[in-house]
């Protein structure tokens, strides 16, 4: 009685060994490292790895290890100084095409790394870093699309010689015409331009209203989010952060997580910045249709500028800061289409003035009828007006900014513009000292809590208590192994979940052992007491664990941030503890006591 077949013993042992192997990467600790990733996401090969290593070695620094990981190059160093020197050298050499970031890398031996094993990743609260939740201003995204239609229809109706007036309000165009025939013709033109638009009749027969269909709005929103994700990733890459996370959340939100970033101020300025440029000709007559007056920034005088944009920020493919006679400047490179237009414009308008307009949006809170409302305010200012002295094409310089503005603007123009403004709605920064503190405290709590429980169990249930302790220890190993494999981050609440699991995991064994004691007290012989103890306790254990599992799953599904971190370890802990406490301890009990003639049990 009470013998497991040998295949089952082997299976339990195999699972335990697998758990140990998967948890193994966590014991090595981490060292200073530099990580290099291609800006366009191209995976590096061995040749690039060798090239980067040579660059570092030429600077007199030998990496402790250098290897490819997920298409990125990782180099580990023995000291912070080496890391700094290597980082600076690589940045200087490859700034344009690669994101060079200082980071910490696990000190894994080669064979562990080659098996593809990784330690658990630590959450921001344990390693320090910045978490930002951004909201994309969808109203503005839709507005800007509607403005495009407004200008387009304006042009088309003028070309068709139809007298009209197009206004934009509440994301809807209203087009006034002079006769019902014109309205009919205008409707045909609009429907030909974009058959998906919803065209309705206005208040009288001489007007039309135009708005986007639900599908178009959805498409526009998805486009805005996707575009913003790309732009934000580019911006983050420009900043040089290792393992950044930029991810969509829900309909209109984007999460940005940047481990190890210490100064959130610059980061946030860059992430949410909407600054961009437009180049327009000055309207000398002042009364061309569509012209309007732009205020000047600082000492610049205001200007009446023409409606047509010669080039705008999204057509700029490169931008670098520099200085000219002590003044900060930004050197601009346009794409070919805009370059051609610039060439044509400068040829046709020699000795006429052209202005650079700096555009920025920000969110303001206003009180309207006693309710706080968010409103987007867009500022457009002339930063520079210069006379066109010669013909130029796709390369030129602009001035009129402070050094910091020039630096930010160049970075933003390089990374691309946001399709719609974003606003920070939740932001958490954890300093590195607090992260380390949290790790130390968390692991201390696990150690002491664990120790207290195993001492108690050993005293209270003697040999059976020791067996339960083996199960408890393997349970910890399994939780760590699962977290490592799943790539889930360990957070402080996650540690709390582990601590709680340690306390609760013994419950299954307590149930079994108390049942065995009951059976013994009821006069059952030891072997059948063991068997009955495990069998009869099983339904209680299952019920109890399933109900806790329900709570954990709900927490995981609905919870956010810290709640999710807690739920994941609780969830894993419940599942692994079912295995260790029931199957694991039974295997050991069977090995020790199974098939023997026993007078009593050490329980």
């Amino acid at each position: 009685m009470n013998k497991y077949p040998s295949w089952l013993n082997a299976l339990v042992l195999a699972i335990l060994l697998a758990g140990c192997l998967l948890a193994l990467p966590n014991i090595y600790g981490s060292v200073e490292a530099v990580q290099i990733a291609d800006n366009d996401g191209v995976a590096y090969d061995e040749a690039r790895l060798d090239e980067y290593v040579r660059v570092v070695e030429n600077a007199g620094v030998t990496p402790e290890a250098a290897f490819l990981q997920d298409g990125r190059v990782v180099m580990r160093f023995n000291s912070t100084e080496d890391q700094e020197i290597a980082g600076e050298r690589l940045k200087a050499a490859y700034e344009r095409d690669a994101n060079v970031a200082a980071t910490l890398a696990p000190r894994l031996p080669d064979w562990v790394r080659k098996l593809g094993l990784n330690p658990m990743s630590l959450g921001l609260d344990l390693r320090g870093g910045v978490y930002v939740l951004l909201e994309v201003d969808m109203a503005t995204a839709i507005d800007s699309r509607m403005k495009g239609y407004q200008q387009d229809f304006d042009d088309r109706l003028r070309d068709a010689r139809i007298r009209h007036r197009v206004d934009l309000a509440d994301q809807r165009l209203s087009i006034r015409l002079t006769s019902a025939e014109d309205a009919q013709a205008a409707r045909a033109i609009i429907e030909r331009t974009d058959p998906n638009l919803l065209v309705g009749n206005g208040a009288d027969g001489n007007s039309l209203t135009v708005r986007m269909s639900e599908a178009q709005i959805k498409e526009r929103q998805d486009f805005a989010i996707e575009q913003n994700l790309t732009t934000l990733r580019n911006r983050v890459n420009q900043l040089g952060v290792a393992e950044p996370l930029v991810q969509r959340q829900g309909v209109d939100r984007i999460v940005v997580q940047l481990p190890g970033v210490q100064d959130p101020n610059q980061l946030k300025r860059i992430l949410t910045a909407t600054a961009t440029l437009e180049f327009r000709l000055v309207d000398m007559s002042g009364d061309e249709p569509g012209s309007r007056r732009y205020p000047g920034r600082g000492d610049e005088s205001s200007q009446v500028l023409k409606r047509q944009v010669i080039a705008s920020g999204d057509q700029i493919i490169d931008a670098r800061t520099g200085s000219d006679q002590g003044q900060p400047i930004v050197s601009i490179t346009l794409d070919s289409a805009a370059g051609e237009r610039m060439l044509q414009t400068t040829m046709d308008n020699l000795n006429k003035p052209m202005s650079t307009v700096f555009i920025e949006s920000r969110r303001e809170t206003v009180m309207r009828n006693g309710v706080e409302e968010q409103r987007t305010v867009k500022t457009e200012e002339v930063i520079n007006t210069a006379t066109i002295r010669g013909v130029f094409k796709n390369r030129f310089q602009i001035s009129g900014l402070t050094p910091a503005e020039a630096y930010d603007l160049a970075l933003l123009l390089r990374a691309g513009a946001l399709a719609a403004p974003v606003y920070t709605i939740d932001e958490r920064t954890i300093g590195p000292s607090l992260g380390q503190d949290n790790i130390d405290r968390g692991f201390n709590a696990i150690k002491i809590g664990f120790l207290a429980v195993i001492v108690f169990m050993a005293i209270y249930y003697r040999a059976f208590g020791l067996i339960a302790n083996v199960a408890l220890l393997s349970n910890l190993v399994f939780i760590v192994a699962m977290l490592s494999v799943l790539g889930a981050s360990l957070t402080l609440p996650g540690i709390a979940g582990i601590v709680l699991t340690v306390g609760m995991a013994v419950d299954a064994n307590v149930l079994i052992f108390e049942r065995i004691r009951e059976e013994l007290a009821g006069g059952a012989p030891p072997q059948s007491a063991i068997n009955a103890g495990y069998e009869k306790a099983l339904s209680s254990i299952t019920d109890a664990n399933i109900t806790t599992l329900i709570a954990a799953v709900v927490l995981f599904a609905i919870g956010t941030g810290p709640v999710k971190g807690f739920a994941i370890t609780l969830l894993l802990g419940i599942i692994t503890s079912m295995f260790t406490a029931i199957v694991g301890t039974r295997a050991i009990v069977n090995l020790i006591f199974g098939g023997r003639k026993l007078q009593s049990l050490p329980v």
């Binding site: 939740l133 101020n265 946030k268 706080e372 920070t424 709605i425 939740d426 932001e427 958490r428 920064t429 300093g431 000292s433 607090l434 503190d437 949290n438 405290r441 968390g442 201390n444 709590a445 002491i448 809590g449 664990f450 207290a452 429980v453 108690f456 005293i459 209270y460 003697r462 402080l492 540690i495 709390a496 601590v499 709680l500 340690v502 306390g503 609760m504 307590v510 149930l511 108390e514 004691r517 007290a521 009869k536 339904s539 209680s540 019920d543 109890a544 664990n545 109900t547 806790t548 329900i550 709570a551 954990a552 709900v554 927490l555 609905i558 919870g559 810290p562 709640v563 807690f566 609780l570």
Partner: protein, 313 residues
Amino acid sequence: MRLIKTKTTIDFLSSGRRKIALAISAVLVVVSLVSLATRGLEFGIDFTGGILLEVGYEQPADLEQIRGSLSNAGFEDAQVQLFGRETDVLVRLPPQPQESSESVRQRLQTTLESGGQNIDLRRVESVSAQVGSELAERGALAMVVALLLIFIYVMIRFQWKFSAGAVAALAHDAIVTVGFFSIFRFPFDLTVVAAVLAVIGYSLNDTVVAFDRIRENFLSLRGVSAEDAMNTSINEMLARTLITGLTTLLVLAALLVLGGESIAPFSIALIVGIIIGTYSSIYTASATALALNVNPQDLIEPIKNPELIDDLP
């Protein structure tokens, strides 16, 4: 070793004892609800929105001076308190709609540094009021969904009277735990919501284990009243209930003492919840089921086709 003797025959559930337990539970729940209604909770910025800074000083911090300089800088509504140790200070501000969070933080940092001390900005959180109310909604939703699913599970595994007993016990635990935070004005943040849900899970664990034994005894002890059968079951499970509670409290005590200030509210909620949960799975759950006239027949499989029986002579 044994914590309690092998066969206890403590009378937990006689009608006299039940009345006392009912009175205690009623007082706890009413006090909690009154406190929640009048004093409310000390919500963290997770729920209210606002700005929070944890600052490390080199020397023990002078709170009065910090308050003074903040108030001079226009932050009259800043709350300043020590956080865990003498050199750590927590500054909290309600949402500042007129000013961007960057500029508020910048000003806060300059103000705190103006004393000439080197400060270590350990943590900055800035949550908009909108996100705060969303998090609060999701927390409440999680609580309700968890209770509902648990009710369904217990109903399937046992019977609706047990289900009602279990959920009554859980609601009791959740209310008293949250009430405790209201009465003692402990900070109530997202981690506390997680803790309350863990308490629900734990307390249910306890309750279900007791119910399991009750079911077993209902079916095996013939001719014994429901009250006696339940009493016997609770006595039989007493050792297990106390030992599991004890080991869990042991690790939570370690977490409370060693885990640091930011996890303390979480530990406190769990400790309170587990003590209450242990009590409620002994009294509230079973007493509710008894009040609903639970009896062994409830657990016997219902006969599939009652019409057929009517047809029998």
